[in-house]
Symmetry: C2
Subunit: 411 residues, 2 copies
């Protein structure tokens, strides 16, 4: 008998029928003889509606009250899911963050879990009662309600799996696993049966939306196996496995490139003719950091004349306008000639363990893109990924060509 944590996201519990469907998935695991804790998100749309109420009162609101309001979304689903399980004759009850003892820090609206006192929940589950935990929420030491920020329910689920010493954490979502590339673009993309924590972390960070980065970090830290699978897969004969995120194994090491991620969330800024002297990088990036703007890919072109150089980097599209203002304000301090920005860019990333140590991996990428006439704006490499920035209009072409070039296409 295993203990499994099953997490259902917002679309998986989007209405009463879907909650009943999710309850059927839980019932199937109970039928197989497992003990189960369920973690639920708010019904889709509810969180946005609640945030909308707060904003309608005041645009700059107290995050503690925001959390009290927004946490109700998951509370409603937890009660309804418990009812749906009871309706199937199962023993179940709801648990709010404060009832579990899911303690967080006081960073309201983006709180981090500091401790889970899961004794009562574990005792209840051992007594064959399914625990339905409201995801996304916790409580501070002084008993104020907190939320974990966007995607926090994945993190709740993995953290609870760790605290309950569960055997596995299953994340039910609207896709049936992790693919070698976005299957909506690359029709030849294959579902990966297994992927290592390290690769999943890169894929999630680099744009694969299937799992929240924080939840993968936590799974990796505590070596908790996480399975991604679909809530909507056919009930009958549905042991269609999802993707298991777990320890790396030998088979993985033979495939240098495991998958290809992409994101359209970044924009490129180039400072032209920056004085090529010590301290200039600080003059550019310290003011951006002070403004809370994260910078991603950075390249400094080789100086032609030993006097000036060009500096390019990417920022999140949401921060783009603000970054331009900061850089214009700092123009004198930085000392650049002009500023060139491009918003319509896509970052494409090859992900795979040992990429640097395999000669030719990056070369194949550059060749493939060159053959298709795709210009590379910025390149960045690490032990586990190789990323390039290209014009947005080439995204589909580049993804499909690279998928084929690295032998990832399904049979």
């Amino acid at each position: 008998m295993s203990l499994i944590v099953m997490k259902f996201g917002g679309t998986s519990v989007g209405d009463i029928e879907r909650i009943k469907n999710a309850a059927a998935k839980v019932a199937a695991e109970i039928q197989r003889g497992h003990k189960v804790a369920v973690v639920v998100s708010a019904m889709s749309g509810v969180t946005d509606q609640l945030i909308g109420y707060c904003r309608a009162i005041t645009p700059r609101y107290d995050q503690r009250e925001h959390d009290a309001v927004v946490a109700t979304g998951e509370q409603v689903t937890s009660g309804l899911m418990a009812l749906a399980l009871q309706q199937r004759g199962l023993n179940a009850r709801s648990w709010q963050g404060w009832q579990v003892g899911l303690y967080t820090d006081k960073a309201h609206a983006k709180a981090r879990i500091v401790d889970i006192d899961a004794k009562a929940l574990r005792a209840s589950i051992d007594d064959f009662e399914i625990g339905v935990v409201a995801g996304f929420q916790g409580v501070t030491e002084d008993e104020r309600i907190t939320t974990l920020g966007r995607g926090g329910s994945d993190t709740s689920a993995v953290a609870l799996a760790v605290a309950l010493q569960a055997d596995r954490c299953d994340i039910y979502t609207d896709v049936d696993g992790v693919y070698t590339a976005d299957p909506r673009i690359v029709t030849a993309a294959r579902k990966m049966p297994r992927v290592s924590y390290e690769e999943m972390l890169e894929l999630a960070s680099l744009g694969a939306k299937v799992l929240q980065v924080r939840s993968v970090e936590m799974a990796m830290r505590y070596r908790m196996p996480v399975q991604v699978l679909s809530t909507f897969a056919n009930e009958i004969g549905s042991d269609l496995p999802g993707t298991l995120v777990t320890e790396g194994n030998e088979k993985m090491e033979t495939n240098t490139v495991t998958g290809i991620a992409h994101t359209r969330d970044e924009a490129k800024i180039t400072l032209v003719k920056v004085a090529d002297k010590p301290g200039v990088a600080a003059h550019i990036f310290v003011p951006l950091a002070r403004a809370g703007i994260n910078v991603d890919m950075i390249v400094q072109s080789a100086s032609d004349d030993g006097v000036s150089t060009d500096v390019s980097f990417t920022v999140g599209k949401a921060d783009f306008e603000r970054a331009l203002r900061v850089l214009e304000d700092e123009k004198a301090a930085i000392g650049y000639d002009r500023l060139v920005s491009v918003k319509n860019v896509t970052k494409i990333s090859l992900v795979g363990i040992g990429m640097r140590s395999h000669a030719g991996v990056a070369a194949t990428m550059f060749e493939t893109l060159a053959e298709k006439g795709i210009n590379i704006m910025v390149i960045e490499t690490s032990e586990i990924n190789t990323s390039v920035l290209i014009a947005d209009e080439y995204t589909e072409l580049a993804l499909r060509a690279l998928h084929a070039a690295y032998g990832l296409d399904g049979g």
Copy 2:
């Protein structure tokens, strides 16, 4: 400096604009130098929507999960009200039942308050932070969420006022006080500036919907002054007083009839030719009590022949069909000839302290109704009320005639 508990019902916090309007009422009390605790209901319609979700899953649901789901309605309003107060530059925070320490018994969905540990809330208010408490909800000793049943927010407010040793509990609603009769029917009805606990309890029990019976009982037990007033009265120059429910005073005793209540919620059942022997009342009313059906006005007509008699009584319209089935099942045991039922009836009640000791009060009622040709079906009297059951179609005529006959019409 006084401490005032201000309670806002569902229509008073029905949308964002109304929440802001209620916040302005709170700000005005703060301006006058008072300390304030606020108790809020769910935004109108929300509770019914949440109950609808539970019913859509299963018609016979676990009341504990019902409570976890439904309590979110007040939680949302408490957070939004705290934000609306902050937006006015006031210091405020939300409190859920479990955060206050509002302990109830385990009768989920209709829980009764057993203890309020208001120390933390009181300390916060003494520190000039407005406490916004989610009404209608509490927590059991073993930390499950409970709700107090329909109208429970009034009870929350009075109980908190008692626990906080407040000077007054103000109930803001969509009417501006307690009237001598329903002002929608009797245009001459006057708002009463004061009414005693005893009279208010009768008025509430007998159909005046302005305050919940349970909240009046609690106010009476602890002698907590309660004021009923309108949320929607004009802001400027609006010290329009509401109605203060408080100790009886001398002036009251001169008015024998304080007000006239009426209800259309009852239906009449008559058992014709019941054997007139000891034990027959038990044969009728014990089975009804076992079925959870409350019986109100009961009359047994004088026996003509010493052998059989007629027994009439009223039950709530919601229980009517069920009561008929119980009586038909028990026909042999009771031993009656036939059953006559009338659904379209109204109960009209004169309320006033010392009614029995004032000769002629009831006589005036019977005369007035006779003059208008209105037949009385059942009569019931107590120390504090005289009630008659009449055909529904005479309701408006009877109310207006009695209101004038007892000198209640305004100038």
